[in-house]
């Protein structure tokens, strides 16, 4: 078979490109440590969230040096707590559940995006670097007020941050 030189070049380059694509995704999963959202949490009764240890009082809790846990509840058409305040340079684990219908918890412009299902606890751990504000939106249609359902995630500078309990 007689293959033109340019065709050989193109075939070779296309192979290299595919290897580069796969390699960069592999790097993202292994080297950069980007993970998928977990589903190992136990189920919960959405009708009695008010009596639950974690979700009765939606809050941010410190669990270690630079480690925080957020217990958040999504309801039609709010996120609690609002705003969610965490300090910069920390590791934050979100535990999110719904008190009524299916919602989602999407931190706009980031990869932090999880479906929130009544009876299930969506869990994701994120690393927060720079101070700033992020909008949180619901991207599962949840009712007539869906488009108004938003929350706020505030990443505060370390010296300005204090937990609500300490105030």
């Amino acid at each position: 078979m007689n293959v033109h030189t340019y065709e050989k070049v193109w075939l070779g380059a296309a192979m290299v490109l595919i290897v580069f694509f796969i390699a960069s995704v592999t790097y993202g999963a292994i080297g950069a440590g980007v993970a998928m959202v977990d589903d190992s949490e136990e189920t919960i009764d959405p009708d009695t969230l008010g009596e639950d240890d974690r979700f009765g009082d939606p809050r941010v809790e410190q669990v270690g040096d630079d480690e925080y846990e957020v217990y958040a509840v999504a309801r039609t058409f709010v996120f609690q707590p609002d705003p969610i305040e965490v300090p910069e340079d920390s590791t934050v684990t979100f535990y999110i559940t719904s008190g009524d219908v299916i919602h989602s918890f999407s931190v706009v412009g980031t990869n932090a995006n999880v479906m929130v299902i009544p009876g299930e606890v969506a869990t994701m751990t994120v690393e927060v670097d720079e101070p700033g504000e992020y909008g949180i939106v619901c991207n599962e249609y949840c009712g007539p007020g869906h488009h108004d359902m938003e929350g706020l995630l505030v990443v505060q500078p370390e010296d300005e941050f204090e937990l609500e309990d300490d105030e």
């Binding site: 694509f21 993970a35 590791t91 994701m124 994120v126």
Partner: protein, 53 residues
């Protein structure tokens, strides 16, 4: 019907313009992938790192 003006061999066919154009597309593809994946996807804040469980 015009008669054959010039006959060239397989490797004498030399579409440099096409090669340049495809090379340009290829380069664009690499640059855009690099930007989308490494800058926008991995570079964005709030990196999801899984669970602490």
């Amino acid at each position: 019907m015009s008669s054959i003006e010039r006959e060239i061999g397989h490797d004498e066919y030399d579409p440099v313009g096409t090669l340049a154009l495809i090379g340009l597309y290829f380069l664009l593809l690499v640059v855009l992938w690099t930007f989308t994946y490494f800058v926008e996807f991995l570079g964005g804040d709030l990196t999801v790192v899984g669970t602490l469980l």
